[in-house]
């Protein structure tokens, strides 16, 4: 897959079809990968594809000007479609190099599973539906579901929904949704008061670094409401009330754009379960309007469209 990617990227740059290639390269820490943005064809050998390509690279599309070749997994491709729907990206300007994705490995889960931190592991490799973790020279095998990100577990669209080139064969969903929404189900079983207290506790930790927003491809506003000063909707003082208000409003703003790529939760340095908000919003949108983000570039964005009759039971 990697070889094919490098060939494609090289050809795209050589033929002048794109100005940049956005992909992944090996990261500076064990097992990690990092976004790679190149314009020189001699750099294509740095491109990698492996089970650790976490980032949703479409976040860079609204920032980098020019024609872009971009490596996209299933969820990333939907973010790109969503950006096209919102007129933030023009389809002609992107060449989507699709990666059929059978799930990305969550190193935090690996750490919990073997009780060692990532830099102390000798190796983590995927072999089919198994993950092989080598600790202190000892090989240990686990089912792959144990180490995949939560959002990968219930992924309905592992194969890119839109692409110009597909690296490899289309793949099928990894497992059912149950494990993926375990925390949401748990919260749904609580009383209003318990749920609110849960979130209150979580957002008490928030340091307002805005990584969740900045890592999110759906958050493309040039000026975020949280930074408005006249009027000042949200105080910049990181008290839980304002932290929570920020995140709730952010989720409403990206409703119908969020593809459940899980980046918000992954980026959060304070381990706030942000995907349990984002995923729930995704489900609400699906349930109310039978709409899922990033499946059809010709469809109008969720909040700019309507049906004559819908959601009437919520209105007096």
């Amino acid at each position: 897959m990697e070889q094919k990617l490098r060939q494609e990227a090289k050809a795209l740059l050589e033929q002048g079809r794109v100005d940049y290639i956005i992909g992944y390269e090996k990261g500076s820490l064990k097992f990690t990968t990092t976004p790679l943005i190149i314009k020189d064809k001699n750099d294509v050998d740095r491109l990698v594809v492996n089970p650790f390509i976490v980032n949703n690279l479409s976040v860079f599309l609204t920032e980098i000007r020019g024609r872009i070749g971009i490596v996209a997994k299933g969820c990333d491709s939907r973010s790109i479609i969503s950006l096209i729907q919102d007129n933030k990206v023009s389809r002609e300007d992107v060449v989507i190099i699709g990666v059929p994705c059978s799930g990305i490995i969550d190193l935090c889960k690996v750490e919990r599973l073997v009780g060692e931190e990532r830099d102390e592991l000798d190796d983590v490799t995927r072999e089919g539906d198994k993950v092989v973790i080598v600790v202190d020279g000892r090989k240990r095998e686990f089912p792959i579901e144990k180490v995949l990100f939560d959002n990968c577990l219930g992924c309905k669209f592992p194969t890119p929904q839109e692409y110009d080139v597909l690296l490899g064969e289309a793949t099928s969903p990894v497992s059912e949704m149950t494990a993926s929404r375990a925390r949401i189900a748990e919260l749904e079983g609580m009383s209003s008061q318990e749920r609110w207290n849960f979130w209150k506790g979580e957002f008490n930790r928030c340091i307002r670094c805005y990584a969740c927003r900045n890592v999110c491809p759906a958050c493309f506003c040039e000026r975020c409401f949280v930074e408005e000063t006249e009027p000042q909707w949200v105080s910049p003082i990181p008290k839980w009330q304002d932290n929570l208000m920020f995140q709730m409003t952010r989720n409403i703003h990206v409703a119908g754009r969020c593809t459940d790529c899980g980046e918000c939760e992954r980026a959060c340095p304070m381990n706030i379960p942000l995907r349990s908000m984002a995923r729930k919003m995704y489900e609400i949108v699906e349930e109310l309007f039978s709409y899922e983000a990033g499946l059809d570039e010709a469809a109008p964005p969720l909040l700019t469209a309507y049906e004559a009759v819908e959601a009437e039971d919520l209105i007096r």
């Binding site: 990261g27 500076s28 820490l29 064990k30 990690t32 990968t33 990092t34 976004p35 790679l36 943005i37 980032n55 976040v59 860079f60 980098i64 931190e117 830099d119 930790r205 340091i207 307002r208 670094c209 805005y210 990584a211 927003r213 900045n214 890592v215 930074e227 000063t229 105080s235 910049p236 003082i237 990181p238 008290k239 980046e263 992954r266 980026a267 340095p269 304070m270 381990n271």
Partner: protein, 342 residues
């Protein structure tokens, strides 16, 4: 400076209990789902099993995420202000890593220069740092490139060296010596312990494998300051979030805001980040509206500007910015690949 006392690890609870007389003891904790220094609960010492370093650096003990500077209210005879009831407890930070202790010495300079910051300095005064040498540094650590090391005891009051079942106690400052002298029940060290400590130190030092070359770094940065192409290239993947600055033990930028409702409220200061596009936008525009300028600022402030004023690099090599970055932006890669144009 080798210490003469030691303590068995299973007696740490007793030790902390003793030290709790006169100090509020803070220890590494993961109670609140993210690792940080938290008030010791009087019982739990299991941090010795998992603690390598905390995600949230102990700078928060002295320069918290947010703090009230004063409160105010309007009455018929005008405005009244009031200082917050001060938390005048003496803090004992147990287990602080050498890099974070050094970082506090850097913050001391920043908060003393020109204007003496009462909030930070009153917390720092009378606090005691009990360092714990790193027997197992992260792969993102690069303290040894910045004059520090996993057992650098320069900036702590007491240094503890983990020699297996026991901790060797090195008194560094007078305050540290006094505390150890007052602490009953410590055992005497043997020659064998000292030899073991030496070994541990050496092997840990070698475990820090990430390196940067700081030789002539100021000059190199000066030379490439205007190299827009270089800075653009190294900043493209940055997301302009505040993780690196907020988790950095030496970053000290803050923002001041009022939290008021009707006729009363309080003035707060909270962390701010030079990575944010809106940084300093309240008095005017952010002079660093482009991302590459902000990335350059972060690198140059630590490695070029701060040394001009204080003669020390404002980075201690703790690696938090690398480990926690959502795009794995690595400052060491930038510093090691500075353009060397003639």
């Amino acid at each position: 400076m080798a210490g003469n006392k030691k303590i068995n690890k299973r007696d740490i609870g007793k030790l902390l209990n003793k030290w709790s007389q006169g100090f509020t003891v803070f220890v590494p904790s993961r109670e609140d789902k993210v690792t940080a220094f938290a008030k010791w609960d009087g019982v739990n010492t299991n941090f010795m099993e998992w603690y390598r370093n905390t995600v949230i650096s102990p700078k928060t003990n002295f320069f918290p995420l947010m703090e009230e500077m004063f409160s105010f209210r309007e009455e018929e005879d005008g405005y009244h202000t009031e200082l917050p009831s001060s938390d005048k407890h003496k803090q004992l930070i147990f287990g602080i890593r050498p890099c974070d202790a050094k970082a506090l010495s850097i913050l001391d300079m920043a908060f003393k220069e020109g204007y003496e910051d009462p909030y930070y300095l009153s917390r720092r005064k009378d606090s005691l740092l009990v360092g714990l040498g790193c027997t197992n540094p992260y792969d993102s650590c690069f303290c040894t490139s910045l004059g520090g090391g996993p057992f650098d005891s320069t900036y702590v009051d007491i240094m503890l060296i983990d020699i297996g079942d026991e901790l060797l106690i090195e008194e560094v400052t007078n305050a540290g010596r006094e505390l150890v002298a007052r602490t009953a029940g410590l055992e005497e060290v043997t020659e064998a312990d000292k030899a073991r400590a030496k070994e541990v130190k050496k092997s840990s030092y070698n475990k820090v494998t990430k390196k940067i070359n700081t030789e002539g770094i100021q000059k190199k940065l000066q030379a490439c300051f205007e190299d827009k192409d270089f800075w653009e290239k190294v900043s493209t993947k940055c997301l302009s979030c505040g993780i690196c600055t907020f988790l950095c033990p030496t970053c000290y930028c803050f923002d001041i805001n009022d939290d008021s409702f009707k006729k009363q409220g309080a003035r707060f200061r909270s962390w701010d980040s030079c990575a944010f596009p809106i940084y300093t936008r309240m008095p005017m525009e952010n002079p660093r509206s482009e991302k590459w300028r902000r990335v350059r600022q972060r690198v140059c402030h630590k490695y070029e500007f701060f040394p001009i004023d204080f003669d020390v690099i404002a980075c201690v090599g703790c690696g938090r910015c690398i480990r926690q970055c959502p795009v794995n932006w690595d400052i060491t890669e930038i510093l090691n690949n500075l353009p060397t144009k003639a």
